[in-house]
């Protein structure tokens, strides 16, 4: 069975080919596959909601017409779900064939398909000891402890979400297209996970990016969905640029991209490679930031919610976005050689965790809350990697895959029940109406909030403990600060998740009576995956129980991914039981406070306290609910293309920045409330606009170069090439 690991990605690929071809052929006669001409202009997938056949009349909704007949639906279902199910069976077969014990002991299976890039011997490489000196890249798959863990949950959660999609997408015109893309995604993700070298990883990395783009823009007739897809693609390009440079760096340094060789060489010869590692790790981390939506490249993930909800669950919560964490964990040898890069990873992770959690508090779209929650949890995982707790980070990746998939699918079920409504202000009191969804959502919410005994309690506790015990030589006080941020974020997580739960399921229904009459539980194909995921979000943490001897099985399992570095002593922290329990107690207390506040404010107080706070601190509220204006700043600086001319820019800078001084002075003589108002208007807005305008002026020069005429670009390229060659010839 373990010789068949190359089949695991290929089965979904076959599914993609069959589904895609059948869909293309069956839609050729009809011309352009016409979507629903739904008029909703709301956010999210307003018409994504399939009605259960015959269970309610879908009137007063985007698709009042009869459900379209989907040609070859049974075939699409069988191929789409079956191929992923088969891949899942193959994956588990392979894992158990190798054996969990053997994997934990560091055994790996590599299967070379063919030699992909045979560049031959290169003299330039190999000056650094350990370099291979032969430039070759194989198309090869590799199964070891790390990829086994990813493989297990990717295929299993993927299979569940495919099953769920059968119910959720059942009445979509593009049913076959949807399953074709989803299968293609599974193929790419499995290549990413199983790839035995950086290039295979990159192929999968780009493949999942493409599928993400295709599936976000699934409702391509809607402009916001198409735009969101493009945004995800473009933002990911920025990350991939860094990642690609990192891969080039690895190739140049080691002469090969094979994981085992590269990490072995680096670990055996740390002194020779360490000087290059900081820049290399930072480049790789840029890639991870893009894929895993870390600040400042996080902007695409919330917009990605324009795709169908199962896609959000599979791609933008459980699997693809964790690829960055996987990659950093995979490269742990590099990162351990680069303490400064580790510090950057930890700080970016912690900042993103806090930043996204605060935004999540003020979102009103059920999927947006979950999206920011995902960004925040990904920040947690990077924080873990940044303090060297790679196994703990991967543990959280795994538990997160289960409970976040459960939350997203649950939100899909809610949206389904409400015929497309995504605004939690128009929900409420759904607990009794859709009990299965409610129970699973409740379990997953309790999990993410950190209730003791459930999965995320253990994984988040492991991360927090690792952060607490971490050491940074350059900044000794940093671990304590990071710990405080992580703890506070945990409280925020509990708060916004209970706000979401309370507003959605508790209290009274806040929509129209007509909407209320439509509420119905989802079909079996949707509730069964929910129940399975809910069970998993309880039990998946039990493999990582701290303190108890032999309880941390996941840590033992992943021990082999830390290749020992020559000359580096592994400092295992042996904290006293008191400290462990104190940390746990703090986490539980913070989570309890968050949950209680959310309940008191949003359920018992029906949102009066938050409304009052929003009125009292309008600046803060505006900044948070507008996601700190990050999108607007990007829009102004990078997107709108610096549309103002020079004089106007100077005027703007004058009006906002220079006039701040006289305005501030005059305001200071007035009442203190005036100062607050000016502060809000000029510092909050002015800072954003001022920075944007300043950059606008700066980049106006570059704008001139964008003539839009390809010939000019070719001329500049030719000139540049000429100069480079001239310099090379003159000074070589």
């Amino acid at each position: 069975m373990k010789d068949l690991i190359w089949l695991i990605p290929l089965v979904p690929l076959a599914g993609f080919l069959i589904n895609g071809l059948v869909y293309l052929l069956s839609h050729r006669t009809k011309g352009v596959p016409h979507g629903h001409e739904a008029a909703e202009d709301g956010h999210g997938e307003a018409h994504a909601v399939p009605a259960v056949a015959g269970s309610h009349p879908p009137t007063g909704h985007g698709h009042a017409e009869a459900h379209p007949v989907i040609p070859f639906k049974a075939l699409h279902t069988a191929v789409g779900v079956g191929s992923v199910g088969l891949a899942c069976l193959l994956a588990f077969g392979a894992i158990f064939d190798v054996g969990l014990k053997a994997l934990a002991a560091g055994e790996s299976v590599t299967r070379v398909l063919y030699r992909w890039i045979p560049l031959g011997v290169n003299q330039a490489v190999g000056q650094i000891p350990g370099g291979v000196g032969e430039w070759v890249v194989d198309a090869a798959f590799r199964l070891d402890a790390l990829s086994a863990l990813m493989l297990a949950f990717v295929t299993f959660v993927g299979f569940l979400i495919h099953v769920y999609s059968v119910g959720y997408m059942g009445h979509e015109e593009g049913y076959g297209r949807y399953f074709a893309y989803l299968n293609l995604f599974m193929f790419a993700m499995l290549v990413l996970v199983l790839g035995a070298n950086f290039l295979m990883l990159f192929v999968g990395w780009e493949g999942v990016g493409l599928c993400s783009y295709l599936l976000i823009g699934y409702y391509y007739e809607k402009k916001f969905a198409a735009d969101a897809g493009k945004k995800a693609f473009v933002v990911n390009r920025i990350g991939d640029f860094g990642f690609l440079l990192g891969i080039f760096g690895v190739f140049a340094l080691f002469g090969t991209l094979d994981f085992a060789t590269v990490f072995g060489a680096a670990a055996a010869n740390p002194a020779a490679y360490a000087p290059y590692m900081t820049i290399l790790c930072l480049l790789l981390f840029v890639g991870a930031c893009g894929k895993s939506a870390q600040f400042p490249l996080h902007v695409w993930l919330p917009d990605a919610m324009a795709g169908p909800t199962p896609v959000s669950a599979l791609i933008h919560a459980a699997t693809m976005v964790t690829a960055g964490v996987y990659m950093v964990a995979r490269c742990n040898v590099f990162f351990r050689l680069a303490p400064h890069a580790m510090l950057v990873v930890a700080v970016v992770g912690a900042f993103t965790a806090l930043f996204a959690a605060t935004i999540g508090i003020a979102q009103n779209d059920i999927k947006k809350v979950l999206a920011y929650s995902t960004v925040s949890q990904l920040g947690y995982m990077f924080l873990a990697c940044g303090v060297g707790a790679f196994a703990e980070g991967m543990f959280h990746v795994t538990t997160h895959a289960f409970f976040k998939a459960c939350l997203f699918l649950g939100s899909g079920s809610v949206i389904h029940a409400l015929a497309g409504e995504q605004d939690i202000r128009r929900m409420g009191g759904l607990a009794a109406r859709i009990p299965t969804t409610y129970r699973t959502f409740l379990v997953a919410t309790l999990t993410i909030a950190g209730v003791p005994g459930l999965a995320a309690f253990f994984s988040k506790d492991a991360i927090k403990a690792a952060v607490f015990h971490a050491e940074f030589e350059a900044v000794p006080w940093m671990p304590k600060l990071l710990y405080a941020v992580a703890l506070f974020t945990a409280g925020l997580t509990a708060f916004y998740m209970f706000r979401l739960l309370g507003l959605t399921f508790w209290g009274r229904f806040r929509g129209t009576p007509q909407e209320e009459s439509h509420i119905h539980e989802s079909p079996r194909s949707m509730t069964v995956p929910l129940v399975v995921l809910a069970v998993l979000s309880v039990v998946s943490g039990w493999v990582g129980i701290p303190v108890v001897h032999g309880g941390n099985r996941i840590g033992e399992f992943l021990k082999s991914i830390r290749v020992p570095i020559a000359g580096h002593e592994e400092k295992a922290h042996h904290a006293s039981l008191t400290v462990e329990f104190a940390l746990m107690g703090a986490a539980v207390a913070v989570a309890a406070i968050g949950m209680y506040l959310a309940w008191a404010w949003y359920v018992k107080g029906e949102g009066r306290t938050p409304a009052r706070l929003a009125v009292e601190w309008p600046g803060v509220y505006r900044a948070v609910s507008n996601k700190y204006f990050v999108d607007e700043a990007y829009e102004t600086v990078f997107v709108r293309g610096l549309a103002l001319d020079g004089g106007r820019v100077l005027w703007e800078v004058d009006a906002t920045v220079v006039d701040l001084i006289p305005n501030g002075a005059s305001a200071a003589t007035k009442a203190i409330s005036w100062v607050a108002a000016i502060f809000d208007q000029y510092v909050v807005d002015g800072l954003v606009n001022g920075v944007a305008n300043a950059l606008q002026g700066l980049f106006g020069v570059f704008r001139k170069a964008q003539t839009g005429r390809v010939q000019n670009y070719a001329l500049v390229m030719g000139g540049g090439l000429f100069c480079l060659v001239a310099v090379y010839l003159l000074f070589r």
Binding site: R709, Q711, L715
Partner: protein, 101 residues
């Protein structure tokens, strides 16, 4: 006088420069395509000259590949030409500057 590799290289260089100049300076999309074709053939000449000089067939094989790619490039280029003309009623590339910043 004997024809050495230098003659071929100079001819190739001239051909390439003419093509490159055409790509940069001409305004007609069709002419630009033809100039690109010229450059590709200059490269072919270069490859074959070296292939002969070094007695290594790789260069010739490579030039066959280049010819194949050139055929595909021509097909796509002509399709683009038609598409451009249908949209703009002109083949002047100076007018196709909607990507201007």
């Amino acid at each position: 006088m004997t024809v050495t590799i230098n003659h071929y290289l100079i001819a190739s260089l001239l051909l390439f420069s003419i093509g490159f100049f055409g790509v940069l300076a001409r305004r007609n999309f069709l002419i630009i395509l033809m100039s690109i074709e010229l450059m590709l053939n200059a490269v072919n000449l270069n490859l074959i000259a070296f292939s002969r000089r070094l007695s290594d067939l790789t260069g010739q094989v490579f030039s066959v590949f280049v010819i194949t790619i050139a055929a595909g490039e021509a097909a796509i280029g002509l399709a683009l030409t038609i598409s451009l003309f249908r949209q703009r009623k002109t083949l002047n590339v100076e007018e196709a500057d909607t990507m201007r910043g």
